[in-house]
Symmetry: C2
């Protein structure tokens, strides 16, 4: 992985993504004793950073591959992102979604022209259904987090954040499948100035924390978390990057996630989804270790079911 | 009123306010057939544009006046703004609030150090209580909307919006007491290029619409609206400005307000209060008259009680 590959990716996807705002809150900074810079990927097209990786992955396909369409499985945000990215590039998107995916995300996929195939809410069912579609259609499988083109694409959010705040001491990312934090870690290495990278993860889906402890990819013991985007596990492409470049993963309770989510809604007046609140919750839990630092947080998305809020 | 007075005011208050973001939504633009530029005063300090006028009014007081404190009456956002602006300038703030004011706004006032005096939810009770405090304390009354320093201060949001989007065809403001739309109309006249100004108002509190029809200040026949910031009536300082410079007022139903509020929450991922959704609702209702225009909307605030959402 070369620095130039990240720069090329950023240039490649620029016409298809928003350069999202970086926001701060004086009251949150005062409360924490440090400066937080929120990279607002909830303002990204399709409402999440996943648009970056999805766009990059599709742009890397040949015209022949594009003609046969793309397939993915996702609980929501990557599904919407692939649907919209594919639509922008005139490619057909086939989306395997677990029946448990939030209704608002299914509506989003359908609105962006993605064709939905529902399946049982297990990783195995998702993968089987996706593989079947690949075999039947000759379409290309886009993995939401364990594909190098996707990982690099996701890292462009951190590139932009570091362009605006070059001296960040630390970047926090949520950890689900590992694509965002792997990409962000590469960006921090190439574009930061000794910029550390930490992950936030629910205790209820702490596979990445335990994977870093054991040194091999661990599954989730439970996925009973409100952070519906963080139920997936790491992959063999992103795990080596995470193992080498991520400085630590901080786990948080469900109450801490909801409290951090509410804090952002009330103080910053922006809508973030529970998976995005995990990072601020992690920073709050461990704030003593980051006093007076400049900390970046990738707000991963804002696709919330307004009918089903935790407060 | 001179152009220079608005510029001086903007310079004067700059150290105490945020320069808020201007956001757009491709999907809302496509839906409406025009380009909307949202000036996000929900991101302003204390969560609303009112911080601008409050700061300017207090900065115009002598030190002797500041020592005796300031008094205001407000259903919420101006109360919070005066409390915070006063605190920043080491001035004591006495705030008369109707018992019907949202809990979240009372909490905000208290958090910013304002002293709350509760009263009956009528304009008369509010004014009587405020006048009593002025008499007792020798403090200065700050009117939330009918004070020229306040009006000019509120106009600085439109100045910033026009700095970023100089060729706006139209600016939409919500109309409550009339301070924001009067200030915005002055800003549009001095800094716009033939920029029109329209107001949005609930049918349930349409005093400004009827005042422009009759040519004199009318009261509200009802104030049964979710837009709690728009229940007040115009004043003799702002009405002449509105009469001369505002191009029209568009009334909307409660359903249209809630629908527009939801649209912004879902598509833009920002939290706006019902009073702020009135403008987009008005633009949607009358969109045929603004096709292909560049339209600015002042998003007035984001102080919503999350426990009491209309959807």
């Amino acid at each position: 992985m070369e620095k130039q590959e990240l720069l090329d990716c950023h240039q490649r996807i620029k016409p298809f993504i928003h350069r999202t705002a970086v926001l701060s809150s004086q009251s949150i900074n005062n409360k924490l004793g440090l400066n937080v810079f929120f990279k607002c990927e909830n303002f990204q097209r399709a409402g999440a950073y996943k648009m970056r990786g999805a766009t990059n992955a599709i742009l890397q396909l040949s015209q022949k591959e594009r003609n046969k369409g793309v397939v993915t499985h996702s609980s929501g945000n990557f599904a919407q992102a692939v649907s919209l990215a594919a639509k922008s590039l005139n490619v057909k998107a086939h989306i395997v979604m677990p029946t448990s995916a939030p209704q608002v995300k299914k509506i989003g996929v359908a609105a962006y022209g993605g064709k939905i195939y529902e399946c049982e809410p297990t990783l195995r069912a998702r993968e089987e259904n996706a593989n079947r579609l690949v075999a039947e259609l000759g379409a290309t499988l886009l993995h939401p987090s364990n594909d190098l083109d996707v990982i690099i694409g996701q890292g462009t959010a951190a590139i932009e954040l570091l362009e605006e705040v070059p001296n960040l001491n630390t970047i926090f990312c949520p950890v689900g499948g590992g694509g965002l934090i792997a990409g962000s870690a590469l960006a921090a290495m190439y574009f930061g100035k000794d910029c550390k990278v930490y992950g936030g993860e629910p205790f209820e889906a702490d596979d990445a924390y335990r994977s870093l402890q054991s040194g091999k990819i661990e599954g989730n013991k439970s996925t009973n978390t409100i952070a519906d985007g963080l139920k997936t596990t790491l992959g063999n492409t992103n795990f080596p990057i995470i193992k080498e470049h991520v400085n630590g993963i901080i786990r948080v309770t469900e109450e801490e996630i909801i409290s951090a989510m509410r804090l952002v809604w009330e103080r910053m007046k922006i809508i973030i989804e529970p998976s995005s609140a995990v990072t601020l919750a992690a920073l709050i839990r461990d704030k003593e270790n980051f006093q007076n630092q400049d900390v970046g947080i990738i707000i991963s998305g804002g696709n919330v079911d307004l009918q089903n809020l935790p407060f």
